[in-house]
């Protein structure tokens, strides 16, 4: 039950893009085409889950015991940057076809604040999946990260679908490009607000 709650809440109710405003830059940047949006979502999904696993362990078994929590931000961003580089190198060697598909998105992910945001949230915030509120355990943390990333993908793919249609429409000149996209996201976010109340 709690697992289901984590998944639904992270994907729909607290959607990372539409209600938490994380990862907006790539969300607006690469959502022009459905195919690139799918690729980016897959890459983000992979990196968020992996980064949360590593930073969670780093925080619990290294920073906290040594009383070095003040290095949290710096340590996390370095881990994420290194991880992205590593994933890139490994993918290139192991699965060139997957690298072809995700490769160009990987360098962009280091500065995607969704990754750092989720990593920091997981180790500093109390969550309320089922009562009472508590800090997440490792399993929950990874599941939450994965579900959040899926939510990112859902928002991204929905939005790129809308945007492909928008591109064919005749919009006033001042609205062209990002402004009309933002207004569309606003309406999409309103639709997602309908989910709050479920979990």
């Amino acid at each position: 039950m709690e697992i289901l709650l984590i998944i639904v809440s992270a994907i729909f109710v607290n959607n990372i893009v539409l209600s938490q405003f994380l990862g907006i830059c790539p969300f607006l940047g690469v959502s022009n085409k459905l195919s690139t949006a799918t690729g980016m979502s897959a890459a983000v999904c992979f990196v968020i889950t992996l980064a949360t696993l590593v930073t969670y362990l780093l925080n619990k078994y290294c920073l906290v015991p040594l009383d070095l929590q003040f290095l949290q931000t710096i340590a996390f961003i370095l881990v994420i940057a290194a991880l992205v580089q590593m994933v890139e190198i490994v993918l290139k060697k192991v699965s060139p076809s997957l690298y072809q598909a995700l490769g160009i998105f990987l360098p962009l992910i280091t500065t995607n604040c969704a990754v750092l945001g989720v990593a920091i949230n997981v180790v500093t915030k109390e969550f309320t999946f089922g009562q009472p509120s508590h800090m997440l355990g490792l399993g929950e943390a990874v599941l939450y990260a994965f579900a959040t990333a899926v939510g990112y993908g859902v928002a991204m793919i929905l939005f790129s679908g809308l945007r492909e249609h928008l591109a064919m429409n005749d919009v006033p000149k001042a609205f062209k490009g990002v402004p009309i996209a933002l207004v569309t996201v606003g309406i999409l976010a309103m639709a997602f607000m309908g989910f709050s109340g479920i979990a």
Binding site: L71, I74, P132, S133, S196
Partner: protein
């Protein structure tokens, strides 16, 4: 433009940057740790002061369980007599944890409440900190004769408009605090509380 990228220069540069930055951070942390602690202590103290009668002495934090979670409470004394208790109580609101400081005076009355932290929606649930219609009702709320649930659920609490979940969580936090204090075994509160604590507990038993 820059130094040539050899393995040595890269390793030296990265190591040096990390060392220098960590050293700076360590230094700043050491300098600001004391003020940060003081600020947090002040916030806690201010919230305790807000929920208890003025001019009384506040005891050190004491442990108790509120709503099944470890929490803490403080005893207020004036001229050696116990005049109230402040209990920290956390429940789940609409957006996340909702933590209150609940001030209770012997006889089963709420003196006042204050929100320590919340993540409710701005403009809706977040009004639990500011809407006078909601916050004023707690002053002198009689927990023995009145029911700590919102009116929609058959209780006596006026909910914030359009924020029933937040109001429920708020009422539950107060109820948990009252129950937790009632369950404190007498020896625990003997430190400075004494009779008044028992009176308080007695008051609740009559409920």
């Amino acid at each position: 433009m820059a130094v040539k990228s050899t393995l040595t220069s890269m390793v030296v540069c990265l190591t040096a940057t990390c060392l220098i930055c960590s050293a700076i951070l360590g230094g700043v942390y050491a300098v600001t740790a004391a003020p940060i602690e003081k600020v947090n202590a002040d916030i806690l103290k201010a919230s305790i002061g807000q929920v208890l009668p003025e001019g009384c002495e506040i005891s050190e934090a004491m442990e108790l369980e509120v709503g099944g979670l470890p929490s803490e409470y403080y005893v207020a004394t004036k001229d050696g007599e116990t005049v109230g208790f402040a209990v920290k109580s956390t429940t789940v609101g609409f957006g996340g944890p909702l933590t209150l400081m609940v001030g209770l005076i012997p006889g089963g009355t709420v003196y006042n409440t204050s929100v320590l932290s919340h993540s409710e929606t701005p403009g809706l649930g977040a009004k639990c900190t500011s809407d006078p219609k909601f916050t004023e009702q707690w002053k002198g709320f009689d927990v023995i004769s009145k029911k700590l649930t919102v009116k929609k659920d058959g209780g006596d609490v006026d909910a914030i408009t359009a924020s029933t979940i937040t109001s429920r969580a708020y009422a539950l936090a107060i109820k948990n605090a009252v129950d937790a204090l009632a369950a404190v075994p007498a020896p625990c509160s003997e430190v400075s509380a004494g009779d008044a604590a028992e009176e308080m507990i007695g008051g609740n038993d009559n409920d």
